[in-house]
């Protein structure tokens, strides 16, 4: 019997069985695997702190410790406040997949705003810290032109040394950098000033709420202006401009000179 069936088996049968088994396993895994964020985010809707704790344990506790007390891989989150969570997770900086990089870059946002709010509620319950700003705290539509101009002065005194005169960002030490502020949502700029993420100092109470609004308003005005100079080259100052002129500009001149001096064939 066995020899009979062995003779009948096509040489492709083994491969087909393996392929089928793989597909079934994969499909089962996809259906049954514990999807951390979604699974934890759904239950406990009516208690955001408990839901946030579930999310925290599943996604953050590896580095920040089971009680957010911090470890060698991540700082303590006690007292950082909801605003810090909303900024770090809302801009995709957290969860970070490595603590070796000189700086955690902004990345893909993996949580929904609802889940971020739950996480923020849990962290806020651990100790007092800045809460997530409301819309009217960072709204800039009521600012007058004078206030926006003053915002420019505040920006140049407090921010421009790291984030550059245009908010294009700039280098710090050992691979760290101040990120570009172009296109960053007003809420996140406000939260960054409030909490001082990574290398950034804290401007929670040294800049008033209105001063923060003025800075955000100035950045919005600055980045919505047309670029009268044409090619901006990243607006990072003389480095890119010098590089462009030395390589492209002088390169073109040398090319012309060589062509002028070459004998016609």
């Amino acid at each position: 019997m066995s020899s009979h069936s062995a003779r009948r088996r096509s040489p492709l049968a083994t491969s087909a069985v393996i392929l089928l088994a793989l597909l079934v396993t994969g499909a089962l895994y996809a259906v049954l695997s514990p999807r951390s964020e979604a699974a934890a985010g759904v239950k406990g809707q009516n208690d955001p702190i408990a839901a946030g704790r579930e999310l925290f344990l599943a996604n953050c506790s590896t580095c920040h410790g089971l009680n957010a007390q911090g470890s060698s891989d991540g700082p303590s989150l006690v007292g950082v406040g909801a605003a810090a969570v909303d900024f770090q997770v809302g801009t995709g900086r957290m969860p970070a997949y490595t603590s070796d990089a000189p700086q955690i870059p902004k990345g893909r946002v993996v949580f929904s705003q609802n889940e971020i709010d739950q996480l923020a509620a849990y962290i806020a319950s651990l100790g007092p810290g800045p809460s997530v700003p409301t819309q009217d705290q960072y709204a800039t539509k009521d600012l007058s032109a004078e206030q926006i101009a003053e915002g420019g002065e505040l920006f140049r005194t407090n921010c421009a040394m790291c984030h550059n005169f245009n908010g294009s960002g700039g280098a710090l030490t050992h691979g760290k950098y101040a990120p570009s502020l172009v296109g960053v949502q007003p809420k996140y700029i406000y939260e960054a000033m409030l909490t001082g993420p990574q290398s950034m100092p804290v401007f929670g109470s040294t800049l008033s709420q209105q001063e923060k609004q003025q800075i955000i308003g100035y950045l919005g005005t600055l980045h919505s202006q047309p670029n009268y100079g044409g090619l901006a080259l990243g607006t990072i100052g003389p480095v890119s401009e010098g590089l462009f002129m030395w390589i492209v500009g002088i390169g073109a001149l040398i090319g012309c000179a060589v062509w002028l001096g070459a004998k016609a064939s």
């Binding site: 003053e150 002065e153 505040l154 005194t157 407090n158 040394m161 790291c162 700039g170 710090l172 030490t173 050992h174 760290k176 101040a178 001082g196 990574q198 290398s199 950034m200 100092p201 804290v202 401007f203 929670g204 109470s205 040294t206 001063e211 047309p226 670029n227 009268y228 100079g229 044409g230 062509w259 002028l260 016609a264 064939s265």
Partner: protein, 348 residues
Amino acid sequence: MSEHSNGSADVVPAAGAQGGLEQQFPDPGLPAHVHRRTDIDTAAARRAERTVARLFLLSIAGTALFVVAWFLFPVNGKLSNVATSRLLMGIGLGLALFCIGIGAVYWAKKLMPDVEVVEDRHPIASTPEEREGALAVLREGGEATGFGRRKMIWASLSGALGALALPAIIPLKDLWIRDPQAKQPAALLSTTMWTGGTRIVKDPTLEPVKATDIELGAVVHVLPEGIDKVEDPLDEKAKSAVLLIRLEPSEVGPAPKGQEDWSYNGIYAYSKICTHMGCPVALYEQQTHNLLCPCHQSTFDVTQHCKVVFGPAARPLPQLAITVDADGYLVAKQGFTEPVGPSFWERG
């Protein structure tokens, strides 16, 4: 030996040369003329002609672009058109001029005669008669001015020309005559507006700073109160700008002798003027507590009382002793005890 043998190939061997260099090399003369493709091939010549014409037509297109951009994106009243209009006009005009240029060069290189031509030199001196004539004209002119006879004109002209030297010399007087009323540069560089009790105000709003408003990890850019009232606020700001930083006291190393009570509640005040070249040192990394100068990357460690940890700065940033007044506002305890900013001759 010095005469030129035009194109001849005779070589004069060195007298008695024993395997040494030859004393004279043959004059290679002009290389044989190589014809260009456009000289031999009429089709190639026609192609080159068409290329030149195309370049000139492209130049016309560039001019047209300039004109069209001028009318299509009017600038008056519409600032948003400036970028587009100037970009297109620039490209158009650039194309127009560049294509005329390379068209002309291409024309010359490919189609105009390229045979080598020898032009003989001629003596450049004029004939003796012409030279004599020119000298006679000069002499006659000189006599007509009466320069030798009319002493008054001669003397006054010399005086006028001599006086003209003064504008060149006068500005140098500052090198050796100083205004006794003015402060000496060394004194100006050594002192700032800060004295005991000067209130600390924020830059640029000039609001006083409450010690309780400064959270951990905060940085405030501050100036001495009354800086807007002095004669030259910018000159004063260039010396008096100070950075307030609040640190966790446990993170800060032991203070230098006699400076133990210069901070207030973890708030430290350091001069913002780099001790290297005087740039504003203001890039503060909250986690590493490094203070970075944007000009030459001098790095100061705030937890070690602004010791230089990297870069060309020679000294730590001077610390300003601070305390609070009766109303809880931060004030300077005393002025800076050393000159702020870069070294200067008299600093020692």
